[in-house]
Amino acid sequence: MLNNRILSSGNDNGSTSLFRYIDWPTIILYLLLVIAGAVCIYAASYDYDNASIFSFAEFSGKQIRWIGLSLILGLVILLVDSRFYETYAYPIYIAMLCLLLLTVFIAPDIKGSRSWLVLGPMSLQPAEFAKFATSLALAKLFSGYGFKLGTTKNSYIRAIAIIVLPIILILAQRETGSALAYTALFFVLYREGMSGIVLLSALSAVVFFVVAIKYTELAFLGISAGELTVFIMIMLIMVGMTAIYCRYPQAARNLLLWFSGSMLTAWVIEKIGVAVPGTYVCMGIIIAAVIYLLILQLHEKTRRMLHTALVAIVSVAFLFSVNYAFTNVLQPHQQQRIKVTLGMEEDLRGAGYNVNQSKIAIGSGGIWGKGFLNGTQTKLKYVPEQHTDFIFCTIGEEEGFIGSALTLLLFLGLILRVISIAERQPRTFGRVYGYCVASFLIFHLAINVGMVIGLCPVIGIPLPFFSYGGSSLWGFTILLFILLRLDAGRRDCRNY
């Protein structure tokens, strides 16, 4: 399905005008990342036994083929009419859901997951291709006539349904990491009008969880340092929200005085020697503040005081459920992974092995690195999954701090470029789609690099453009090039 319009209407021939409007900085960033990725895969799978032979027989050779094919794929995507993607967004999405469902049943069991479709010599992971399909569907939904998040009937339910359907199917394939990546699309919802509080709450929930679980030693008032910190954070959030969100500095000041005064009193009483039931005292202090906010709400037109009070109540409830959830809901190996990630347990042979080895590999790189092909840790396979999920280790070890920081900056540049492309789209479809691309990139970059350097739990997701594997590379290439095609055609769209 070639773009007849471009081919026929331009002053020059059609492809020249296409390539004039294409966003070259993105193409260059893309090519840099893909080539760097191939080099890293070559380095990661390089074998000491064949030291002298520059052979592309193994992973790196295959990856070169994937890259070649993805460039052709990218070109084909660019040559397709931009309206095609909008028109066929839902059919593509539905087809992809069917494929995902099919995969659950026909995929062979590989390391406990059923996410690979084996097609003759190659295997593909539909979960990677569902990314662009989901993005298209989400963009299509938002670009519907008069659609506005929160105003249109069932808007949230429809948006979330589009996001959650692939998540469910991918979870059924037991690919938790890939499934979690789709939660990144909540960034898009935020951009399109979802309240920031939702995003903030999600973030706070993660922080509360980590702090409450990690710091278990007793502080004072008979409660753990983590729990106390979370209580204090809740209090500070209440003060902050009252001041900034509710725009009521006087109430914020009163709250601050109340919190500091009552906590200080509790502390003094405990110092005197009276046993203070800390949990109840902190809860009581917060409940008193909540009641104060609710009384103020009576005289307010907006419901912002109420929101603040709700945040506080939900936070406290969350805090209480954390311990219960941790010990009763999570599987022991999941608890283990979390504990290792939080640095609470040093299990260097079990769950911590990957992370520890990858830290050793990266840490041994120094400022300038050991040089291309000179990394010992990655060459000797100390880092598991080093050509896929842990590919960043190779950069860290061989190219050092400079190389790994540069790689991060390249990704950052690409993401910021994608955001700016999204923002310059005249149509909602293009913008929403652009934010979907940015969200996936943000999630993959943050989680993948975070796990390799020991800051995030080990969630098996690839580093876009770098990790070995055709599915991931193709998935992200399609994702990115559709955006480029939409962007290149944005001028034509003005005529609509």
Partner: protein, 619 residues
Amino acid sequence: MRKDYKLEKRKYVIGGFIIIICLIYICRLFNLQVADDKYKAYADSNAFFKKTIYPSRGTIYDRTGKVVVFNQPAYDMMIIPRDVEPFDTLDLCTTLGITHEEFMRRWTNMRDRSINPGYSNYSPQTFLTNLTTEDYGKLQEKMYRFPGFYIQKRILRDYYYHCAANVLGNIREVSKSDLEADDYYAAGDYTGDTGVEKSYEEHLRGVKGVEILIRDARGQIQGRYEDGKFDKAAVSGRNLKLAIDIELQQYAESLMVNKLGAIVAIEPHTGEVLALVTSPNYDPSMLVGRDRGKNYNLLMKTPHKPLYDRSITGYYPPGSTFKPTQALTFLQEGIITLDTRYPCSHGYINGGLRVGCHGHASPLPLLPALQTSCNGYFCWGFKNMIDRRSKYGSSAEAFEVWKNHVVSMGYGYKLGIDLPGEKRGFLPNAKYYSKAYGEGHWSANTVISVSIGQGEVTATPLQIANLCATIANRGWFITPHVVKEIEDTVIAPQYFEKRYPTIDAKYYPPVAEGMRMAVLGGTCTRANIPDIPVAGKTGTAQNPHGKDHSAFMGFAPYDDPKIAVAVYVENGGWGATYGVPIGSLIIERYLRGYISESRKPIETAMLNASTVQLSEYAK
């Protein structure tokens, strides 16, 4: 479509979010890669497996070129703690033949840095040493069941001649203090513990080599790092050629069976120790292998201390073997001439003091005095010297002069033999007596017994033999040493240099003649070997531990001495009873290679004689 400008601002939130994430990650990378260098070390120990290549320890030959000490392969069980995975400890213990408690004890000790300062989770640690070849065979099949464990081949000592343990010494695992003193050693290495194994450790041990191997995550060796460019080949230890004649040593040890004491035989003109016997002794192979600890404790508890080398650490009164030093001193100081005669009426009687002697002509000059070992003569000579205030000013000053002469003949200080643990004996000085009796309150008679090698003076058998060698050389000696040659290098210069006592060479021939007379018709006629002119001096030393010690020193041939020997038999009675016959047998055996028919009965008697029981009763 109208743009929602309020919502558009949210691009800053999303963009800011990823910028902050990237900043945090870059900080983290900086922290990992630049600020903290522990990961570098981890990475090296991960990837490089430094395999020590043990050099073979030098072989030890005797002076005739016979192999005495050589190497046998031994196997050590090593552990890389980091690589250990849960395994069947019971299976391992059974295969190794150790108890579970022993296993746990070794495990804890290995991990305890106060015992094993070189402990690291990443580097090879010695777990158990000296596996037998059979254990090794059994283990080899099972090693795959014990990840993290591996077997390292190493060299142990083996002995062709089961004698001379005091000279050869033995090797042991290095201790914590060895590790701290010399960074050549790693835990589990061996070092010389005693004997030449200790004193020549640096020559014998060689230089360890290292092979740098590349190891992957499964612990499998991937090859050599940079094709072995950084490997270091092991340098074999140097071979030693002992001065000891191992067959003479063996023979001398057999003569000392069931007797306590020592024999030292020296080649006079080289200072080379031909035999260095202490009795009781033990088979050096007892202190090799896994039973070393057990046997060591056994030897520690054995009566008469076989681990104690009497030949260089025994403090014995030299008795009459000391008299030649007196003759030389008096001649040098002009106290006597060869014609000076002193009376001896069955002893020295002066100032209410009596030192007994036996029947012989009186008064008599020096040579017959040496021949008959006359106590009276030497007491008089001593008294004339120490109390000659006209010459020396005071007894104390005279005694200092006397002492210095004796010291120059090798007494009172270590001679400097190339064996660890040599003792200096004891020679009192004037200060010692002034402290005991008060300044000016003592004179010759107070300390008269030192003149006949009794009283405070003690000497090691080595010092006695060295005196004999000095007389045989007619006035000089070379520091006795047990190692004759070191492969590819030379022995220490002090073992070539002649040392001259403060006695003129002209005074030695008469003393030698007196000792020859003693053999021909004096105290040691049993040393008169047909066809071999022997000179000798007996000693019968009173001691507080029971029966007199029997001592003898002698050299032969008289005109061209090839061997000087000192024999000391504790509680053996007269010098002539054990010292003389044993000494003469050694001389004959060394010079002739066999014992002549006429002297076979003496040999038989000596081989069968036992003084140990006697000394037990005496106590």
